[in-house]
């Protein structure tokens, strides 16, 4: 059972529709107690980093997430903002602390690139770095996913990066570190390639 964490931001419906389409059992998690019955978690997200952390705090979800992800080692997949939340901190609208499950920072694309539109929006290629469980069985030419973001993850430990993408610079598009997974793109909006990523995640024990 995959629990989709609802912290009142982002498009839960799209993620749930995608899992339903794949016949993957799922449930929406509103409070910490509901995490217990989930084997895996998805942290979706659209919106601002600071607001999302505030919401997670207000809903008292942080302790539950830490217990199940860091101690019980349940696999978690952060999507877009959800991936960024897994990091130490973000510079989006002032500095904000994240969930600190992955070492590194979330930085502004605008500060790095001046000649390209920000947000980075559209379909872009992901290049595998190391061996990615999420990209398993997806042919290289089909590793094109839908991105919408203005900030990007910069992992301190390069070994956790499983995919990178070029947009004025090369940024970390995917991380995989034991039970912690993240995609900067939206698999739920990336057609068959995106569905394949979700399927790969669901297959991880």
């Amino acid at each position: 059972m995959i629990g989709i964490v609802n912290y009142r931001m982002g498009n839960l419906a799209s993620v749930q529709h995608a899992l339903n389409h794949l016949n993957i059992a799922n449930t929406i998690v509103h409070v910490s107690a509901e995490i217990e019955k989930c084997d895996q978690l998805i942290l979706p997200g659209v919106g601002a980093f600071g607001k999302a952390m505030e919401a997670l705090q207000e809903l008292q979800l942080i302790d539950g997430l830490s217990e199940h992800i860091l101690h019980k080692k349940k696999p978690v997949l952060g999507l877009c903002l959800g991936m960024q939340l897994l990091f130490d901190q973000s510079e989006e609208m002032g500095d904000h602390e994240g969930l600190k499950m992955t070492k590194g920072n979330v930085r502004s694309l605008k500060n790095e690139i001046s000649r390209l539109p920000v947000p980075h929006m559209g379909w872009n290629q992901v290049k595998e770095s190391g061996t990615s469980a999420l990209l398993k069985n997806i042919p290289e030419e089909e590793r094109v996913f839908y991105f919408v973001h203005s900030f990007y993850c910069d992992a301190s430990d390069r070994n956790v990066v499983s995919g990178t993408t070029e947009y004025g610079l090369s940024f970390d598009a995917m991380i995989e570190n034991e039970n912690i997974f993240g995609c900067q793109f939206h698999p739920e909006k990336s057609q068959q390639s995106g569905l394949a990523v979700l399927k790969n995640f669901a297959a991880i024990q």
Partner: protein, 261 residues
């Protein structure tokens, strides 16, 4: 780098998909949901739904008719978001923040705002503040008059006197994150894209530009992609009538060096 998008546009009138010509002649060509499944099987980059229903009473601003127009949007987004796993853009008749909230909550990724951006610019601003600029598409219908592209509203009837380039700058300041450009005079004409205006717009703005109006075959897409730095190539009619057109166009663009998915 980001791929150039090839985007089918579905024009919806009174709940049915129509073929549009001159912004005035509309031929019914199918049920919204059936057509969506067809596009879904083509693995498209994105879908744009534009509701062009224009009940005359609606123009008088009667609230009861507004509700009807929106409810069709609502049914469409609820149905398609269950089966479509691609970016979805909805537009036409969006007037209030409640309309926007509902569509985004139910799976729309972007909202297309046209006439409302003139009547209540605050809707553009508020949507951008709440959901981010990437969720706000400023839709512009225009005609070229005396060599100048001029913005028209209300289904291409009202001449605003605004230069397209100036309006885009204003829209960007309001918070729009993308431009959807539709050439009224080329609607349904298969005369090729308006390369001159599109080229000028793309050079002037940092926002991604999706161009529509005039596609007669896949070589019009190629010409547009080669001649301008457009982000999205949109077309309505051609995809409906030519079987296998989408995949064929993608293949041809790729073969000719256009960076498509």
């Amino acid at each position: 780098m980001v791929k150039t998008r090839l985007i089918p546009v579905l024009f919806i009138k009174n709940g049915l998909i129509v073929r549009s010509e001159d912004f005035s002649y509309h031929q019914n060509i199918g049920n919204v949901v059936n057509q969506t499944q067809r596009y879904n099987s083509w693995n498209v980059d994105e879908l744009i739904y534009l509701d062009i229903s224009r009940d005359p009473v609606y123009d008088l601003g009667r609230d009861d008719h507004k509700v009807d127009a929106y409810s069709s949007h609502e049914e469409i987004i609820k149905t398609i978001s269950r089966e479509c796993f691609m970016p979805l853009t909805l537009g036409g008749g969006i007037r209030t923040m409640e309309n926007v909230d509902f569509l985004i909550r139910n799976g729309a990724d972007k909202i297309c705002i046209n006439s409302a951006a003139h009547e209540s610019p605050d809707l553009v601003r508020q949507t951008a503040l709440k959901y981010g600029s990437q969720a706000v598409v400023l839709s512009i219908d225009y005609k070229v008059l005396n060599n100048t592209p001029i913005v028209f509203t209300k289904f291409g009837i009202v001449n605003t006197g605004l230069n397209v380039l100036d309006w885009i700058e204003e829209g960007a300041q309001l918070g729009a994150g993308e431009i959807f450009l539709n050439a009224i005079d080329r609607d349904g004409k298969a005369s090729g894209y308006d390369l001159k205006t599109i080229g000028e717009v793309v050079e002037k703005t940092m926002l991604p530009v999706v161009a529509c109006g005039g596609a007669g075959n896949e070589y019009d897409f190629l010409e547009l992609a080669k001649e301008t730095k457009v982000s999205g190539i949109a077309a309505g009619n051609w995809f409906h009538f030519v079987e296998g057109s989408y995949l064929r166009a993608k293949k041809m663009l790729k073969k000719n060096g256009v960076d498509v998915r």
